[in-house]
Symmetry: C2
Subunit: 312 residues, 2 copies
């Protein structure tokens, strides 16, 4: 994907001139503008129109689009984005739209006309659906990447590899990974990372799913997990982990004595036992970064680190 | 609270004439209008302007305001409201605003000018804050009542009384109630209902809190609960129940063998043990009712029953 720096290099201007040309063309000499636009065109550079449109403040509204509100994962991200929106004197609304049907895309396109920009957490919708929204208004993707669109992703895949490696080091020979929702953009990266780490450590890894990120799905996964003889489980989401923990308990299996289940630090700490991996996405930082991208012109692709720790 | 029927009776017109006078005054004879407005004024009747404004469809947007997205309780309510909004060709956005500070109220008042109406889940904001929003646009309250404003409330208080009575019947002599957030509108009704049921059954009830409706608060409550010697706990929210269950487990206390904790059916069923009370709010029905009130002119106060069942 071409960046602002690529356009600057090809056109022979510095980045601030290119940025000005693209966002405030009236402030740049016509000849300069022509060279920059030609370079941008040759490179297929997609201008993120956020800066110009948001600066004009047409509505003062931005929208955060989530596929569901049942997954608490989005709450701190929305909180972070909301804090930054307030600082830019924008009001952030939240819209629930999985973007899986044409009707959902159409409804969101109508909404897009009433806001200045959108942050999209669209783990499952087709690229074309997401691009349709991006064509209507400036967008920033959260936890998903599509070439040409700005995005911020939590690098959970790397964290999951670290957890699998750490479990192997702590003596677990059979580990189960509980995958996320069908079609989730994050899931293939996470399961690949788990597989690589297991292969490198020479331990068995079973991959299960797809599962929606819900407590009920975690309960339902207990049968699968028990069938594998795994002594450690790495679920895609905290809600899955909680459902699995209670369902294992209901079958007389002790957590974490018999089976270790990774989760957020809050959950891991509640159990008060050592050797449990905690995976913590800094949702607030994700939200901050997403809103910062929306209010800037940079079509950046950011990957934020995800913290792994072990109860002691 | 005065109703449309009261105004009709005092003014001496039928309800449809009164409704027309209040929503389309230009269609009513001036003399009729004067009599009806005088009657409305005498009775302190608050016109719900939803029908007229929504019918004109100024923006096609409605907003669902929640204090936080960390409490999964709101997800099915928003889903229910969203389904009904789509049927009325409205797009429902969600706004996170606890309505506890003047700045939050001011931001929401600005948002109100960009939507046709609002559903407010405002468990903690002052009445005056909520009324300020109601003065700007048609509102419907969820899980809270303020005289003169339409509302729909889940009758969790009655359900909690039923649970406490049922626990006493099943032999529990010491029961703990974990209260909700400070200033919550629902909490005093719930704790009063728990106290009455305990007194009627002649069992001890300890009341704890306030607690935010979070997993972490449930973990923190374990110390309090253990101090009481309670064999059954009734938490305000499912997130509290989950945190408490895992924290008790971490202290070597078996759930439900040593301590029974009430929760939603999904959680209770995961444990696969008998005698656990399940409390289920039909969030979707709550959302349906709230949106129906918003799109009708009726300033109704609805109380929906909450289901109590026992694992067998």
């Amino acid at each position: 994907m071409a960046t602002l720096a690529d356009v600057a290099a090809l056109a022979g201007y510095n980045k601030s001139t290119v940025s000005r040309a693209l966002t405030r063309p009236e402030m740049v000499a016509p000849e300069t503008l022509t060279r920059i636009l030609t370079a941008a065109d040759q490179l297929g550079y997609v201008l993120n129109r956020t800066a110009s449109q948001l600066a004009r403040g047409r509505t003062g509204l931005a929208a955060f689009v989530v596929p569901t509100l049942e997954n608490a994962f989005f709450a701190p991200i929305i909180g972070g984005a909301q804090a930054r929106a307030a600082a830019s004197d924008l009001h952030l609304t939240v819209t629930v739209a999985p973007l899986e049907t044409a009707a959902q895309v159409a409804a969101l396109t109508r909404l897009a006309s009433q806001v200045d920009g959108l942050i999209l957490a669209a783990p499952r919708g087709d690229d074309t659906h997401v691009r349709a929204i991006g064509a209507a208004k400036p967008v920033v993707l959260v936890d998903r990447e599509i070439p040409g669109l700005p995005s911020v992703v939590a690098d959970t895949a790397t964290a999951i590899g670290t957890v699998v490696a750490g479990l192997a080091e702590r003596g677990h020979r059979r580990i189960a990974y509980l995958g996320g929702p069908a079609g989730s953009w994050q899931d293939p990266g996470r399961s690949a990372s788990a597989r690589e780490a297991a292969a490198a450590a020479g331990v068995e890894l079973s991959v299960h799913g797809p599962f929606p990120a819900t407590f009920a799905a975690g309960v339902a996964s207990a049968e699968d997990v028990l069938g594998t003889g795994a002594t450690a489980v790495v679920p895609y989401a905290t809600a899955l982990a909680l459902g699995l923990m209670l369902a294992l308990r209901g079958r007389g299996i002790h957590v974490p004595e018999d089976v270790v289940v990774s989760a957020e630090t809050t959950v891991v700490d509640a159990l008060g036992a050592p050797g449990i991996p905690a995976i913590d996405v800094d949702g607030e930082a994700l939200g901050h970064a997403a809103m910062d991208l929306l209010t800037s012109a940079a079509p950046d692709t950011l990957r934020l680190p995800v913290r792994v720790s072990w109860s002691g």
